[in-house]
Structure formats: structure tokens, C-alpha cells
Symmetry: C2
Subunit: 569 residues, 2 copies
């Protein structure tokens, strides 16, 4: 029978430990299959895109194939279960629900007056153990935070675990207690942004906007939030600095601005997941489906982290015992866990590292989405370490223990899957590799033959302050190459000059105008950049594919059709 | 008629300005064609491999094709010229020869008693204008230095320009005057080395030796000399340091060893041309035909350059006016030009740059081939900047003006050729990109099916102190990948531990043992490394091909045949 299962479904089956149990209690086979499939795409509550993608045709086909393939056994299970579901449910008090808060006692939750025993589901939850935080209580505040749950098929999955109903009095209490949508105070955003996820807000500008401006206007700068935007009162804001011989240093916003010289750096930030959609096209990965615009360039002003650490007592003795500077954001989830990350100490204290505690972006106060009132800007380093709404700095022997430092934002071999991955085996992403992409024309665009030539535009950048020194462009899929014109300033303005070695923090915009090749019906446009360590982009996506879909920096490819003139048709 | 010329010959014709003259004097068409073809492969007197390669079948075919293609006109020219050559030659005095020392007066040289008017050849000389240094005198001392000339076809080319003979008395004087072979005092070398060029000496160890030892024994360490090995007396050796507020600092070897702390660094050096042979396989490049072993790893001890610069008065004010530290070797050519290079000032003075003025290699005095008594070791930076037989250090606003810094060791687009190249447009190579190669098995090896498994071994390294964090190995040409075991120490010894961020100067050796895939008749083994900036190696050679054949770091590929057991045959 198994031979009729398609290979995708085989993969799902093989990887889902839950299925091997074939539960004898309530046979929740359908949700187990569904959640296993989801789990392949997501294993983190912070990853808001994973449930969403489950709605796509690809996902539906996979599950359909799986169900079709497993055949009669599953069909029987589903039938039997349906029959059970129609029975009347017992009534429970909140107290009874709350007594089920562990795998031993069972894990019960409530949702809109229903009581659910989700004990069996815990191991299969895409967000991992975090589900236990909801044990004994209402799901609503969690689902408000992790908005990915607000989808029909998640409700369907939940319904399979229903064991009773909450009594009317306790339900009324719950309703008045339930918190508001934690995202309700998120700021307004510009409608031009392409939204990858609404809660938390993740969005990128249209690519053609990117290459029109060396400095990305703040409203168009890509947004990558992991949690709700916190409301921070600048008058009472306090930044804490820990782990240095001077003891705890606490700085108000005013002190940060007045006690330390204001330093300005033009730096490009890039999300580790930029261009993830190209990895998804090879094989589904876990994460938001970013296009090519999860990268932007801004001018940042603030105190240098180095200066603040020196004020807090940093000295060579510290370097001998500590290796990392941890940052904690003021953005937090329902459990109070804040966003966190760390960077190597030598980057933080280097005179040439240019790490800022920034309070201005493009000459104005930081916008709420970009970390108001204070964020870290770590030039040359992946966006995820540029912690926004900065609350605390800790100098430590250890990296940040946060989920995002330890079990996310790391690169793996294309042969590593969610069953074999060992997050300890890979370093946390810091400096990013060389990158470039074509912002115009768009893939699938049509060019008239009468226009005779074509202008191709894009961006290029490399991590670690390595300057992009050349961008090669091909119109024939990589057989022949031309060198693009590069600029490192706003159009019409004089270039900023060559940055000091190792401090090229800003991207380059490039363009090339080439005649349309006679006879060609299609152009396969490719770009690749070279940085001043002469690192090149890999040719293709599949050999750098990784389960988290990060570090997607293969040659960028755009296909364009040439339309012959009407008179020639 | 031109339509019968093959495309290679077309290229040669189009690029050779000399041919467009179709000289009316002595119709030296054959040598013009020949030298143009050579010029395509070489444009530098320092490049000793170029004339040698002219002997290969590929070259002979190109010229044969060219001559066949140009047909009757050339055939007539050759015939006429041959007739002229058989006439008796006039006798000249050395004084008459010496009066021809410019393009205006004609450029005459002598060789073994013959007098040659090479005026027309000057523009076509693969080594450029340097040929004018020989004007009016004997070729022998130059050809002793640039041993690439000692080949039959070079003599054939010269013979076409013969205009007379030197009188007997002057010939006798010349013979007694002529210098000895400048390479006669080069040291003995280990016979295991694979010699790419004898004078100057360039050789690499067999690959399988490389991966047997984390520290490469000095005798096996690849040798890359640009000029004869100078004889330096350690008792009178003086190192000069210029360009700092303290004025000229002069240090004896003893002072270098005693005035500054001894610092030890394990660092891998790699020639910019390592793996050039793979680029040659795509399309001929200019340069020595290195295999995969122009890379080695040693322990170096010496004074830190930073400490010496501080002693010579380096301070923050210097950083504002200077940007480079230039090095001059004591090795020089017949014109007195020394080898030279420079590195960025911030690398030189950084506490974390670890740049050494090394006087020990692997615990002993530097060997003659590696720069005795003092060389620069610039960890993470291309071999060419690690100047040997160090004579002078100059802190300057400018890069070294040497040929090797300005017009060599730079990377270009695959579309750039010797007619379009602008050396000013590319930065001098400093940090090298991520690299790896398979040292065993060798390409073309045969494995017995009965051995059941195969061990693949190799090295991996990245420039700029970026640590290699993973090596992926494929046995099926890159379709599927496994992660290799990495070690960072001598086999059997404890690893040295994780180097500080940005200071991973030593390579990693790696290996993987995998079962022979059932049914496979051949394995297409591929390796690719990832450094901690997550830079990857490009997939293929052609898109990174460049006219100088440097920076060859595409995936390394080795094909192995599986021999079935006798009983199965």
C-alpha cells in the first residue's frame, strides 16, 4: 500500500515520530499528520510564517497525497473519530482545567469556552515546548501574540482534541481577563510595503524602490520584527550595562546623547532570510518568504558602543575573561521573554567596528519599527544582531542564550534536515557573505525590441566591512559577462570616497545599459558581486540550500522577454 | 581567405597590432605571429612560465592554424625571408652595437657573437619594455635571470632579427665579463617537490603530503620565488624602517630578536595562483601552472610588525596621513629592481592582525627559500604580500609601486582580456577568499569495490582570519552532500581550540569516510568549504576565470573509478 504514496508524503511519514505511535487513546491521526507536515516547515513559535504557508496549494497537495497514500487505516481512524466528536461534552471548571498543566497530569487548555486535552499534540507542536506555557489556561492571549494560529486549519486541528466545555461563570471571567491584541499599538506602516507577516510585522519594499535611492527612506526600510513593537517612554527609558568592572551602568536617553560623542555611520542591514523565496523554490524551508528586498541602507547616529563600554569600565583584562556582548530588547512575548542576541566582544570594542547605540535613523529619531528610542547597529553583521528597543547590554564569557542566537540564524549543509540538525554544530551568523541582486527589470518583464537597449539595476553588499569591488552582469545566463557601473552615493552626488579597509558598511548600487542582442527572444539576466577579499557568490541555490533558508546569496537571475516590434509580427 | 582561419587564430590576429604593419623592411611575419601568440599568454618578464607553455601542443596548434589560415601572403613572406638569411653578415664592433639603444636609433643586442636588430620586436616582447634594458649589450645575463628564454623557439625567433656579427676581440671581452648564473647560489631543494619553474624556483609538494601533516615541514612547504634567492649575511643584515615620526629606524637581526617580544603564529600561506591549472583547463591564462598545493601551513616566530612600527614612532597621527605599509625584498633583478609589495596600514598595526617580521619557521631559522634571515608573515593575506628577505619597510600614503602590487595579483571579470584590462580598476589582492581542495584520492584514481568504503581527505582555509566552519563533500558531482570531519591540529594531538574571532590563520584538514555507493562505476567527488562569514566557494571555474589565473577557488572536483572485484568480472 505504501508504494502508492508520493515521495513527498513518504518524507513526511518517515520524519513524523508522532505517527509511529498510532495512538490508542483517541486516534488523532489526521491532526498528527497535519501537524507533522507543518512541523517540517517550522519548529519555532517565533516563526510566524510557517502556519500561513500551510494554506498554500503545495501544502494541501502534500497532505492530500499523504492521506490518499496511507489509505484505509487512516480513513477508518477519521471516521471513528468523527463519530466520537458528535457526542455531548462534559462541563469543567477553570480549576479542573488548571489542574492539567503537565505531560503527567495531561495538558489542558481552553479556547472560546471549549476545553481541550492537547497532551498528545505537545510533541508535535511546531513551536516546540512553548505550548506548555499555555497549559491549564486560555489559548487566546498566546494566539493573539503568535498570530500564525489564526487560521482555519489550526482550529480544525484543535477541535480534534476537544474533551469538554468550560462552565459559564469561568468563561465570563476569562473574557474580561483576556488581554488586548499585543499588536494593537504597533505603528502605522506605509502601504507600499509588501507584507510577509502582519503580527509580528515583517515587510519589504518593492525592489524597484530600493535601487532608486542610495539611502533608503525609513518608511521603506525593510521591517523585521520578532514580537510586538514595545511602547517606550523616552523620559523614563533606561539602558542597563552589566558585566564590567565599573558595576551596573544605567543611562537615560538624555545621558546616552550627552555623555558620549555622537557618531554617524551609513550602514546596510540585511535580514539573514533575504532572498529566502529562492531557496523555497528549490525545496521548502522554514521562515518568512522574503524576496530580494530584506535589505536596506540608512544613516545611523548614536553613541559608539565602544565608548559606553569604556565608560562602564571595559579594559584589556575584560577581554581575557569575556568574549561576547549580549543585547536584550524591550520587546517581549507573553512569558516575558525578550528578544536577544550577542556579538563578539572584539567587534564591539574595536575602534574600527563602528558599533552604535543608535538613536537616530536618517537624521531623525528612530521610528518605532526600527527600535525607538535606542537600537544597536552592528555594521557588517546580520540584521538579527542589531537588537532594537535596546534594554540591556551584558558583557559575558558566553553568547546570548536566546533562541535566536542558539537555535536559529545559523547555516547548515544542504544535506542536514530537521531530524539531523544539531544547532550546536554551527556558529551563529554574524558577518554575512557577499550578496547582490537585480532590482530592475523584474523577472518576467517584457522589453520592446524597439527600445534597442536595456538597463539593468541592482544592489551589492558584503558583510564584515568588505567593500564590493565589482559586479558582473550576464545577459545569457552566465556564459558571458560585462562589468556594471557601481556607485556609492545618492545619484548625482559625489561618491563618498573609498571607505577605510574593512569598514565598507554601505551597499553599492550598480547599473549597466546594454544593447539588446540581435535575434534574442529572451534574456537570462544574472548578476554576481565580488568583494575586496575576492569572495564571489555561488552559482546556484541548491548546493547552499539549508533548512532555515538563510544566507541565500547565489547568483541572482531574472528572465526578460523581448517583444518584436508590431510591424515585424 | 580569412574565413578559413579558426576562431582561436582570428583572436590572435585581431589582437596583434604588430601584424597590421606587415613590415616592409624584413617582413618578420613569422616571429611576429609567434610572439603575438606568446603575448596572449604572458605580458610580464617576471612571468617565467609563459614562454615554456609556448612549447605545448595547444600552442603549436594555434600557430599552425594561424599560419595555415593566413595562407599565401605569409608563405610568400617566409620564403623571401629565408633567402635573405643565408647571405653573409657584416661585422660590427661593440661600440657600434652600443650606439643602438633606442627605438629612434634602433635597438640592437648581441647573443653568442651574433648582432640582432630587435627594434620591431620591442612592442611584441612578452616582458614589455624591460627588453630595452638589454639594448646595446649582451642578452646572456638577462636570459640567465629570466630563464624562460632558454628555449629553442625563442632562439628561432631571435635568429630572424640577425643583422651581423660581433668582431672577435669584443666577443672575447664580453665572454669574460658575462656574469655567472644568478641562480647558481640558490639552495638545494627536496626532490619530492613538483617543479613549476626552475629559475626562479617555483614548486609545490605532492598533494597527498599536504594532508598528512597539519604543520607542513619547511622542506615541503610550497616555494614561490620571483627572483634569485639573495645571499644575506646575518651578521651585517640591516632592516630599515622609514616614513614614521621617529625618522629612519635601522635594526640588526640581533636587535630585531632582542628588542621586541617574540611572537608565534601558526599561519597558512597560499599563492594567488594556487589551482591555476583548473583555470588553464577552461582557457589559457598567464602564470605558472600551479596544481592544488601552492598552499602550506607553518608556525612562524618573530617580532610583531606592530611593535616595530610603534618603536619607530607610529601613532594615531600617522594613521591620518598614511594608509599602507610597503615592504621591499633584498631579491633583485639585473636592473636592481627589488621585489616589493604593501599591505593596508590597519592590518599592520592592529593588535589582532598578527603581522610578523618572522625569523623562524617551524622552530628553526628561516630556510633560504623562505626569506632568510627575515620575512614578513601577513596572516590571512595572499602569499605575494608576505615579502621574503625583507630589506625595507616604508609607511606611506601609497601602496607599493611595484609591478606585483600594481599590475599583477589582481582579479578581473571573465570578460576582461589583455586588450581591455585596466589594472587600475581592480584592488590588489590582500585577503583571499574561502578555499578547499581534495588531496586524496587523486583525480583518476581507481578504487576496488572490495574496499567497500572510501576516505576522502583535503584542506580548507579562508583569508582574513575567517575560520572554516564546515566542509561539504559530495560523491555524486554535487547533487547530495555530507559534512566532513574537520581537524585543526596535528593528528592525534588535541585541537588548538577555537581561535579568537577573525584570527583563524591556520587551515583545517578534513576527511570523510563513506561507503562506496552500490552500483556506482565512478565517483564524482566534490568539496566546498564554508567560513564563519558563511562565504561559500563558487560552483564552477569558468565564471571566475580571469586572465591572470588567480583566485581559483571553485569547488574542487576529483573523479574516481570503482573497479569491480575480479570474481564479478
Amino acid at each position: 500500500m505504501l508504494s502508492v504514496i508520493n515521495s513527498g508524503a513518504m518524507l513526511l511519514l518517515r520524519r513524523c515520530r508522532g505517527l509511529t505511535l498510532l495512538s490508542t487513546r483517541r486516534l488523532p491521526v489526521a491532526p498528527a499528520v497535519a501537524s507533522c507536515a507543518v512541523r517540517l516547515r517550522s519548529s519555532s513559535a517565533e516563526d510566524q510564517g510557517s502556519y500561513q504557508r500551510a494554506h498554500r496549494p503545495g501544502w494541501r497537495h502534500a497532505v492530500a497525497g499523504l492521506l490518499a497514500g496511507t489509505g484505509a487505516v487512516l480513513a477508518y481512524g477519521l471516521h471513528q473519530h468523527k463519530a466520537e466528536q458528535e457526542a455531548a461534552y462534559p462541563i469543567f471548571s477553570q480549576e479542573e482545567v488548571t489542574s492539567h498543566r503537565s505531560l503527567q497530569d495531561g495538558v489542558w487548555v481552553t479556547y472560546k469556552g471549549g476545553v481541550y486535552d492537547i497532551t498528545e499534540f505537545v510533541a508535535m507542536h511546531p513551536g516546540g515546548d512553548k505550548i506548555l506555557l499555555a497549559a491549564g489556561g486560555a489559548l487566546e492571549p498566546f494566539w493573539a501574540l503568535y498570530a500564525v494560529h489564526n487560521q482555519e486549519h489550526v482550529l480544525e486541528m484543535l477541535s480534534e482534541y476537544k474533551v469538554g466545555e468550560l462552565n459559564a461563570e469561568d468563561l465570563k471571567k476569562q473574557k474580561t481577563m483576556q488581554t488586548l491584541d499585543p499588536y494593537s499599538s504597533d505603528p502605522e506602516r506605509h502601504p507600499v510595503l509588501r507584507i510577509n507577516n502582519l503580527k509580528p510585522f515583517n515587510a519589504e519594499p518593492p525592489p524597484e524602490i530600493l535601487s532608486d535611492s542610495f539611502i533608503t527612506p525609513s518608511a521603506f526600510f525593510f521591517k523585521r520584527n520578532h514580537l510586538p513593537v514595545p511602547q517606550v517612554d523616552p523620559a523614563t527609558y533606561l539602558l542597563q550595562v552589566e558585566g564590567l568592572p565599573g558595576g551596573l551602568l544605567t543611562l537615560s536617553l538624555e545621558e546616552l546623547k550627552t555623555r558620549f560623542p555622537k557618531h554617524t555611520v551609513t550602514a546596510t542591514l540585511q535580514c539573514a532570510g533575504n532572498r529566502r523565496s529562492e531557496m523555497n523554490a528549490v525545496k521548502q524551508v522554514k521562515g518568512l518568504n522574503w524576496g530580494i528586498a530584506a535589505i536596506s541602507n540608512a544613516t545611523w547616529s548614536g553613541a559608539r558602543l565602544r565608548d559606553v563600554l569604556l565608560a562602564a569600565g571595559y579594559g584589556p583584562d575584560v577581554a581575557r575573561r569575556a568574549g561576547h556582548v549580549q543585547f536584550e530588547g524591550l520587546d517581549k512575548d507573553v512569558t516575558g521573554t525578550t528578544y536577544g542576541a550577542s556579538i563578539p566582544l572584539n567587534k564591539a570594542v574595536s575602534e574600527e567596528g563602528d558599533v552604535l547605540l543608535a538613536y537616530e535613523m536618517n537624521g531623525a529619531d528612530l521610528p518605532a519599527d526600527h527600535g525607538y528610542p535606542v537600537r544597536v547597529v552592528v555594521p557588517g553583521v546580520v540584521g538579527a544582531r542589531n537588537v532594537k528597543w535596546l534594554g540591556k547590554i551584558i558583557v559575558s564569557a558566553d553568547e546570548s542564550s536566546s533562541h535566536w542566537q542558539q537555535n536559529d540564524y545559523k547555516g547548515f549543509s544542504p544535506g542536514t534536515d530537521w531530524d539531523t540538525v544539531n544547532f550546536k554544530s554551527a556558529p551563529a551568523i554574524q558577518e554575512l557573505p557577499v550578496q547582490s541582486a537585480i532590482t530592475a527589470p523584474a523577472d518576467g518583464a517584457v522589453v520592446d525590441r524597439s527600445s534597442e537597449e536595456l538597463t539593468v539595476k541592482g544592489y551589492a553588499w558584503s558583510g564584515g566591512g568588505r567593500e564590493v569591488v565589482r559586479v558582473d552582469v550576464s545577459l545569457d545566463g552566465g556564459k558571458t559577462w560585462q562589468v556594471a557601473q557601481i556607485r556609492s552615493s545618492e545619484k548625482g552626488q559625489a561618491p563618498e570616497g573609498t571607505p577605510p579597509t574593512g569598514r565598507a558598511w554601505a551597499w553599492k548600487l550598480w547599473e549597466i545599459t546594454a544593447p539588446l542582442p540581435p535575434g534574442a527572444k529572451e534574456l537570462k539576466i544574472v548578476c554576481k558581486a565580488v568583494d575586496n577579499s575576492y569572495n564571489m557568490q555561488p552559482d546556484t541555490v541548491a548546493p547552499i540550500w539549508n533548512l532555515r533558508g538563510v544566507l541565500s546569496n547565489a547568483w541572482h537571475r531574472v528572465n526578460v522577454k523581448i517583444r518584436e516590434d508590431e510591424r515585424e509580427e
